[in-house]
């Protein structure tokens, strides 16, 4: 599935009113209301939408923005600029490269870990998956099923085992076997659970003992359907686990993932990947333009 297909499912509906207008149509109060609605319904924070709309209204009243397409383009540009400030490439600071996948329950960590492993293998790397979610019932089996389907090696923890020890051992195993990248799936945890966040902090620290400078990436997996709480999640995970990048999942539904703008704005974290479907190939590198176009579609 291509990114634009995955993101395009929701065109139509009330948005078609907004974007079905003719090119030369002038800006009206109704249009401004609809634009605001489109942004808010995409889960963009009201703290970003209100000032943004104030600017658009200003520019419209001074005559600098005259037509609907011009106004939409201006807003798209602002949003794309926000998403392209940071380097979205995958970092590597040594061998093996170490990637931790973290996030709240049900955001799609295990699936993301598997898809990322496939993507790296297809690019010529030799990834090693690590099932370090030793807490949730059958989480290990879930990643093992993916690993055998994709034919990617995996190191698994034992149920209720110490996740930090599993990751530590896996990095040593990767060294011995010559794997270029280690991708560790961690247990889902709510950012409000202090002791679970401490445990995650420990995994990050222990990783650094297995390889100087590791982890290279701590990817926070955010559910694309999440609302403003995603910002709280990102704050807390960044504080406790030094998040280096974001993955937004479940964008093949009708949600737009607009909450990410406030996160990028406040924490300066790059969005590295987007999850756009259930198949192994449905994890794609961030494409700011396609992401914003899904939010404010261009007329076909």
């Amino acid at each position: 599935m291509s990114l634009s297909d995955g993101l395009a499912k929701t065109r139509g509906g009330f948005l078609s009113r907004l974007f079905g207008r003719k090119a030369e149509e002038p800006i009206t109060p109704e249009f401004l209301d609809e634009l605001e609605e489109a942004l808010l319904r995409a889960d963009l924070s009201v703290s970003l939408v209100d000032p943004l709309m104030a600017q658009v209204r200003d520019l419209a009243s001074t005559g600098e923005l005259k037509t609907v397409p011009k106004a939409l383009d201006a807003v798209r540009e602002v949003l794309v600029a926000e998403l392209t400030k940071q380097d979205a490439s995958l970092r590597s600071g040594g061998k093996p490269r170490v990637i931790l996948v973290v996030g709240v329950n049900g955001s799609g960590k295990t699936t993301t870990a598997a898809k990322l492993a496939k993507r790296l293998r297809d690019a010529g790397e030799s990834p090693l998956l690590v099932a370090a979610d030793t807490f949730r019932a059958a989480a290990i089996e879930q990643l093992e099923t993916w690993a055998s389907r994709l034919d990617i090696p995996i190191v698994s923890g034992r149920p209720d085992g110490d996740p930090a020890a599993v990751v530590f051992d896996a990095i040593n195993a990767a060294n011995a076997r010559g794997n270029s990248t280690v991708i560790a799936d961690t247990a889902g945890r709510l950012h409000t659970k202090g002791h679970l966040m401490d445990e995650l902090g420990k995994i990050v620290r222990v990783t650094g003992r297995a390889r100087e400078g590791a982890p290279d990436e701590v990817l926070l997996v955010l559910d694309g359907t999440a609302g403003q709480n995603a910002i709280q999640q990102a704050r807390q995970f960044t504080k406790d686990a030094n998040v280096t990048g974001l993955v937004i999942t479940k964008l093949d539904g009708t949600a737009k993932g607009g909450a990410v703008f406030a996160i990028v704005h406040e924490l300066g974290l790059p969005v590295k990947y987007l999850g756009v479907g259930e198949k192994a190939d449905d994890l794609v590198p961030m494409d700011a333009r396609a992401f914003v176009d899904a939010l404010l579609p261009r007329a076909a």
């Binding site: 059958a138 609302g227 709480n229």
Partner: protein
Amino acid sequence: MFEQLSDKLNVTFERLRGRPRVSEADLEEALRDVRVALLEADVNLKVVRQLIATVRERALGEKVLESITGAQQVVKIVHDALVEMLGGEAAPIERAATPPTVVLLVGLQGSGKTTTAGKLANTLRKQGRHPLLVAADVHRPAAIDQLRALGKQLGIPVTEVNASRVASDVAAAIAAAPAQARDTVIVDTAGRLHIDDEMMKEVEAVVAAAKPHEVLLVVDAMTGQDAVEAASAFKARLPISGLVLTKVDSDARGGASLSIRAATGIPVKLLGVGEKLDALEVFHPDRLAQRILGMGDVLTLVEKAQEAVDRKTAEEQTKKLLEARFTFEDFYATLQQVKRMGPIGDLMKMIPGMGAVAKQLPTGPEAEAQMKRIEAMISSMTRAERVDPTIINGSRRRRIAAGSGTTVTEVNQLIKQFAEMQKLMKQMGGLAKSGRLPRIPGMPMPR
């Protein structure tokens, strides 16, 4: 989860109360703040607009601008509008006239269906039912293993279905339930997108075969604006009878999931409030509106107490307490019961007016740590010392401190506080006997 929304609204209302009269500008400013607070809480945009329009209309209709109690009236109008949005009374889980009762769980990926299935089975068993779990998620890798593991933990049987005949296997599992003395069947289905036609057809077929009495839509409380869209799509194709909100123990303000009730009419029935298998609560919409507006939730607190506290023990202890026969032994038992009710901070927030106080108290990890130290000290006492603390001399104090990893000063403090409490209780006991102490509703008092 609703504290932050509550805090935001209270700031608005405080400012409003500070005005001698509510001017039209004051009202508009308050409404703007309410709008932002609701949007930040992920309340659906349409619902927000409707709510604001309702409040404005009623406020002008009731002439709050001319009234000296205008601010109070506005608060009440917002409260009533919120209660209307959330719906009225709690809606119980259906029970079929002829068993087995069939409950089907559906929802998006990662919303928490499998965990909810386990929790619901556990809850219904506590109510005297005999549940059977049916693992019908044949799509997510290891989802069936997950439900099987939960069933094993709970000691509740799990029936699995074959991927090639999901609907007929579910129907067969239901038909076989009475023979296994199971009166309630809980079916866990695969997570699916509401716009995935093929997957929606699959679950339609399961519903047609299972003829469920309840189809519960499981929704992540952290969901944003999309919640209403997804719920409407599910409702358009399936007979959704209720909502289960999960991950309520996050700090999500839960607005989107709550606006599902306002936008689709589906009542919220249950709340998932933790990772443990007993962390499922009945949802009380009226109480929630009060909690959002900082009015406390005494009923939930009382229910929690009733669940956690063995009534007979409690009555016995209250009696002892008032007669000053309350020992460290009893104190220890009480501590254990309070612990079962949950973190102290959570309990405080349910008491009206205590929301603000709770924030200043050493709650959370600090308070829990303090409780642990007290527990450790009491555990380090001998039985004789617990029954009669007066025998605890200097060398005994040193031994207790060493045994519990605390200091002699802390042990001294505990014994002193305990003695003072006994004295106070003795006085209260006298009052109670003379009938001058008001009885606290819901609390056992000595006869």
